[in-house]
Amino acid sequence: MTRGPHTSALQALWIVLILGFLYIPIVSVVLASMANTRYMRFPHKVWSLDAYRDAIASFTTWQIHSISFWIALFVVILAVVLGTLGAVAFARYDWRGRGVFQRLLVLPIFFPQPVLGLALLLSLNAVGLAPSWKTAIFAHLVWIVPIVTLVISIRFFGYDPAQEEAARDLGANRWQVIREVTLPALWPGIFSGALFAFLLSWSNLPLSIYTSGPDTPLPVWLFSRTATNYSPLVPSVAVIGTLISALLVLSLALILLAAKRVRARRP
């Protein structure tokens, strides 16, 4: 196939269109955050950064971010531990009932989240637990652990289990086999699983809305303030939240890159 100048021009246009489609909503939120209107609308006449000043000065901004952050942090840690163990059961070993386990595990992913959230709230009431940010962690885990398990499991397909036997044959004890062979092989999966867990928890609305009780995570606050009592504070907090999660992901990537460099330099 030959590629004329028209083809590449069309290709460029296509890419610009897709990127535009993805970014216009985000840009419009940024623009809305710099207005001082009572409704989210565009174009607006007065430009100001007042909303950002208010957001940074407000205690609520920090509170909702910190609640979302702590939930996401615990979700990441627990989901990675459970997901890794789950992946071992899911993909590494063949055992009776594995097929059933594999199917049952992915089922919660397909369950509509608002219904799942309500069901979890009812269960919490039934066992007498008061909803708070801690119960929201549990609710997130129900939905996120299966996803993380699947992400980590992918690493096991195309993994040669004989590597573990080889390590043992070469003098490694059980713990050394896990540390030197199994975990390094799984590491890219664990990393993507952790990233998924963080982002899915950080932006989760339908589960949090039912199960976080009086503690308000970022998406719940954004949702309720968009529905009632809107002010440019809402888009500005959204922008701040996006920046924080982007920074976290970026710094994690940089840390990994640095670690890789150090490891490569070491003989």
Binding site: D160, A162, E165, A166, A167, R168, D169, G171, A185, P267
Partner: protein, 352 residues
């Protein structure tokens, strides 16, 4: 230094197997195997798939526990000791290289587990690269960037790095193309001679075993049916299974005809002084033209094998035979009938 392999049986025994068995459910994968392996021997265990040879070598390496029987390293009972406590190393069928590591890190693994300092590990790894004929700059290359043959060499170097008394090989060359396999077979044999270590090699190819081994053990359904030097196995297979395992051979059955004479049932020819129930005649021993035992055979297929020609033949009684003749044998057109013969000296007799 080359060591002399002719008197290998006089050497002290390094590994002895006493009645080893392994059952999986109702299947007897390894069935009461007893064998003594002298120090420095290149022993090859040959068998078709499902004969239990892989299970046997996994028991020897400590990756599988036997259901019954004992294993001794010199005089020490090691039946229950795990793989990481045995002074042995295995080259796996899949090679089982650590994919996320470099060639150097793969080779150094055993030394790292022993706590050898980094500088010493590196020096030893570079020596080992030389031993397996890989260039030094492969040290920092990821194993995923190595070719099939290079990966074989890395696996070999990694096994040698633990300084093992015995090396086990579980069909490492089975997935490699013919020419490279031939090269690696010769290199492996040379490596054995240079290092003087004990090698226990598993394969389904008797041809491979013939090339490399001091001694061959043939496995069938979990049992060892014959052990011997390649020459012994070649000239005197103990049964039809071993004979047919060697590739294309003619096996004739003896029966008594109505007059009480011994005849070969496939060709209807009588034979004097039979020493078994079956006779193996190699294709090259079945010659064109009359001789001691002559029979008329019709050509059904003619294959060129370079300097020789292989012809597929059918007897008047309908049995198929194979002959290999020097040159191109131009007179043997398909469909023509000729006298073929063999001498009783070329027969290997078998009882079963």
């Amino acid at each position: 230094m080359l060591h002399d392999t002719t008197h290998i049986t006089d050497r002290p025994v390094i590994l002895s197997l006493a009645g080893l068995s392994k059952t999986f459910g109702t299947l007897k994968a390894v069935d009461d195997i007893s064998l003594s392996i002298p120090e420095g021997e290149f022993l090859t265990i040959v068998g078709p798939s499902g004969s239990g040879k892989s299970t046997l070598v996994r028991i020897l390496a400590g990756l599988e526990a036997p259901t019954s029987g004992d294993l001794f390293l010199r005089d020490t009972q090691i039946t229950q000791s795990p793989a990481n406590k045995r002074p042995t190393a295995m080259v796996f069928q899949s090679l089982a290289l650590f994919d996320h590591r470099t060639v150097g890190q793969n080779i150094e693994f055993a030394m790292k587990m022993k706590g050898v300092p980094a500088a010493d590990r590196r020096n030893r790894a570079l020596e080992l690269l030389q031993l397996v004929r890989l260039p030094e700059d492969y040290y920092s290359r990821p194993v995923t960037q190595c070719s099939g043959g290079e990966r074989q060499r890395v696996a070999l170097a990694r096994a040698f790095a633990s300084d093992p008394e015995i090396l086990f090989f579980d069909e490492p060359l089975s997935a490699i193309d013919y020419r490279l396999r031939k090269t690696l077979e010769v290199e492996l044999k040379e490596l054995h001679q240079r290092t003087g270590r004990t090698f226990v090699y598993i394969t389904h190819s008797l041809e491979e075993a013939m090339v490399m081994s001091d001694r061959i053990a043939i496995m069938q359904s979990g049992r060892i049916v014959q052990t011997g030097t390649p020459a012994e196995i070649y000239s005197a297979p103990v049964n039809r299974f071993v004979a047919s395992f060697m590739g294309e051979v003619n096996i004739l059955t003896l029966e008594k005809d109505t007059g009480g004479k011994q005849v070969f049932s496939e060709i209807g020819q009588p034979v004097q002084a039979a020493r078994g129930a079956y006779a193996m005649i190699r294709p090259e021993a079945l010659e064109l033209g009359p001789g001691e035992i002559t029979t008329q055979l019709t050509v059904t297929q003619r294959l060129m094998l370079g300097s020789r020609t292989q012809v597929h033949l059918v007897s008047e009684l309908g049995a198929t035979l194979i002959s290999e003749l020097p040159g191109t044998a131009p007179e043997l057109d398909i469909g023509t009938t000729h006298p073929f013969s063999f001498s009783t000296e070329d027969i290997a007799w078998m009882d079963e």
